[in-house]
């Protein structure tokens, strides 16, 4: 059996092409069914995300070329696109290369934003759908499960996904490094703006429970507060109410700073030194940079956050190299398994033949035995089984060993010749 991949991704195809051949939840199962209906495709599964449409299949070694063409044909027919339009964007892989590729995709090493966490879930869903349509078999099942465990290893052993690569996620991460759990924390949102609201939303989805909104126009504050199920305060109460907030996000259009060191010092005193995290998204800045000097206060402006993101991106590419090592090691292991599988038919045939001999001989003997109790009959039968297993153990383990080394051809051939096993 050979693994074969046919697909296109953000690396080879523009968005409009990717769109035309993508599968949605609705037509995925139908897609998988018609994929495995292709005569040369033994097992199949379709991964379809906004960045890639890839078809993973297992085919017989002799039919790889046929399968490639059938799969491209399937993709074109299913989406009613002329084949010529897809051809320049499609790549195909077969054999060893595929294993590494699937591991990399699942571990998010092949993603547009390396380390983004969604892809693993998407691959899992794709596999779940194919498995429930009975489109996968021995090889893809094993391969995908291995891919999931590789992805898990990559996530736990490298920092590829721990560092945020967007400003609003970086803010959430910093907040977690300061406060630990964000559950029960309060955030104050001053002014409005897309990025500030996004950061607030991320904080809320990470456990922050209360939100206080302040705006120069009180009505706007009320509107936004309603949207977040928080409370609005008049702008002139900012300084008094600030002590309730653990995290302050500011993004007003004010020409000068609205929060200075003295004000924060005062607030921190009233909070009995409970830490505070200020995020200044406004340009020009709302928060005096000296605020960061106050004990237990951490004030980040947009440049600081970008600095953090930049460091994180550098870390990610460094971590990707470590992840690559993990992938290479695991590919080796999987290929060993694939190879040992090659000797399986011979092992099965050998076992079947020996089992048949054992049964016939046992039946003959049993017929001639007299006065044998049921218990004793069982004992004799068990003995024949164990003789068989002991004798077969050596040739079988020899074949498996050879398969692991990749030179099973000779040994398997010899076994077939000695025991007269035919295809």
């Amino acid at each position: 059996m050979e693994i074969l991949i046919v697909g296109l991704s953000h690396k080879t195809a523009p968005l409009d092409i990717r769109e035309t051949v993508s599968f949605s939840e609705r037509n995925m199962e139908e897609g998988v069914r018609s994929l495995v209906a292709c005569p040369s495709v033994a097992e199949g599964l379709i991964v379809s995300t906004c960045n890639r449409v890839e078809i993973y299949t297992a085919t017989s070694k002799k039919k790889v070329e046929e399968a490639k063409s059938e799969i491209i044909g399937f993709l074109a027919d299913f989406h009613d696109v002329p084949r010529e339009k897809l051809d320049p964007h499609i790549y195909t892989m077969s054999g060893e290369e595929c294993v590494g590729h699937i591991f990399r995709v699942a571990s998010s090493l092949d993603s547009m934003v390396v380390g983004e966490p969604q892809i693993l879930g998407q691959v899992k869903e794709a596999f779940g759908c194919a498995a429930s349509a009975h489109a996968t078999g021995n090889i893809l099942n094993r391969l995908l499960h291995k891919a999931f465990s590789v992805a898990k290893r990559v996530r736990s052993e490298t920092r590829i996904a721990t560092s945020a690569v967007s400003i609003s996620f970086a803010a959430v991460e910093l907040a977690k490094k300061i406060f630990g759990e964000l559950t029960g924390k309060t955030v104050m949102l001053i002014g409005a703006g897309e990025m500030a609201e996004l950061a607030a939303r991320h904080l809320l989805s990470n456990g922050v429970e209360h939100i206080i909104v302040a705006n120069r126009t009180y009505e706007n504050a009320v509107k936004l507060a309603e949207e977040f199920k928080g409370s609005a305060i008049p702008f002139n109460e900012l300084a008094q109410q600030m002590e309730l907030a653990d995290i302050v996000i500011s993004s007003t259009g004010a020409p000068t700073t609205i929060i200075d060191k003295k004000m924060v010092k005062d607030v921190i005193k009233r909070r009995r030194n409970k830490p505070m995290f200020f995020i200044d998204i406004a340009v020009p800045r709302d928060i005096d940079s000296a605020v960061n000097e106050v004990e237990n206060v951490y004030a980040y402006d947009i440049d600081d956050l970008e600095g953090v993101v930049e460091t994180n991106i550098k870390t990610r590419s460094k971590e990707a190299a470590k992840a690559e090592e993990i992938v290479v090691g695991e590919v080796g292991q999987f290929l060993d398994w694939m190879r040992s599988r090659e000797s399986f038919p011979t092992i099965v045939a050998l076992r079947e033949w020996a089992e048949e001999v054992r049964r016939t001989e046992l039946a003959k003997t049993m017929k001639r035995m007299e006065g044998l109790s049921e218990v004793d009959a069982k004992r004799v039968e068990a003995m024949t089984e164990s003789i068989l297993n002991k004798i077969l153990h050596r040739p079988i383990s020899r074949m498996k060993k050879a398969a692991h080394k990749g030179d099973e051809g000779e040994v398997v051939g010899m076994v077939r010749e000695i025991f007269e096993i035919e295809d």
């Binding site: 490298t158 920092r159 977690k176 406060f179 030194n273 409970k274 004990e295 953090v308």
Partner: protein
């Protein structure tokens, strides 16, 4: 037997320390697991060491420097294992276990390892009580020290706004501060009881509750430092950096009371 068990515990502690330090660099989840299991083995072999010495002759700890070091090491291992049940931050091991390893290596280098005569003044049931309370207190201060150092490192990275390599590894400021506080609130009463039992025992043994022996003086200084930081925490809302610094200073006083006084100053507590 006790020498074998001592060597075994030194070996396990070395492995544990090594893995805790590796944990700073590698993310492989096996590393902290190996560290923890070798620490269990350290704990067990030290316990076996005390038992075999006890069976050989009397009191197994606190009668000379060597025994005291091993006992302190065991207290530290115990304190670490207990505290990390609540705070699952194995990284603190990287900051505490090296100190522990140094103490155990020092013990290994000491010439006097025999089980000699127990000095008459120490032949009392107060000995194990006084020593256990004091060392358990000290071990918790070592934990407070470790979390304090970690707090300062993490705080600096957050203030400077440049996440370094340890930024991802270290837990949040909140966890570190709370661990520091927890260690102090348990360690302080233990130290207090250690001093009180010592004082009561001194009344029996030396005929006076307090005789300004250097060890007594220094443990009082240590006690005052920790009393001050706990007081400030409760009344003035001290937390974070200041508290971290004080737990570092306090631990320096602990080490001086424990080692410095024995080595540099002579007094009633000087038993080598």
């Amino acid at each position: 037997m006790d020498t074998i068990l001592f060597s075994a515990s030194l070996f396990f502690l070395f492995l544990a320390t090594l893995h805790y330090l590796l944990f700073l660099v590698y993310r492989n989840p096996i590393v902290p697991r190996v560290a923890r299991y070798t620490l269990y083995l350290t704990f067990a072999s030290q316990l076996g060491y005390f038992l075999s010495r006890y069976l050989k002759g009397g009191m197994p700890f606190g009668t000379n420097m060597y025994e005291s070091l091993v006992f302190f090491s065991w207290c530290l291992v115990t304190a670490y294992l207990v505290i990390t049940i609540k705070y699952k931050v194995p990284v603190v091991g990287a900051f505490v276990m090296p100190i522990n390893l140094i103490l155990m290596v020092a013990a290994a280098l000491l010439p006097n390892k025999g089980i000699g005569e127990i000095p008459p003044a120490l032949q009392s049931n107060w000995l194990p009580i006084h020593v256990t309370l004091s060392f358990m207190g000290d071990a918790l201060f070592a934990m407070a020290f470790g979390s304090g150092v970690m707090y300062l490192i993490q705080e600096r990275q957050l203030k400077r706004k440049r996440p370094g390599a340890l930024y991802y590894r270290l837990p949040s400021l909140d966890v570190l501060d709370s661990m520091n506080y927890r260690a102090l609130t348990v360690g302080f009463p233990l130290l207090t009881l250690g001093i009180i039992t010592g004082s009561v025992w001194a009344q029996y043994a030396w005929g006076s509750y307090w005789s300004w022996d250097p060890k007594e003086t220094w443990s009082l200084i240590t006690w005052l430092i920790y009393a001050a930081v706990l007081h400030a925490r409760l009344t003035a809302g001290w937390r974070g950096r200041k508290a971290a610094w004080f737990s570092i200073i306090g631990f320096a006083a602990v080490l001086f009371t424990f080692l410095g006084v024995n080595l540099l100053l002579s007094g009633l507590h000087s038993y080598n």
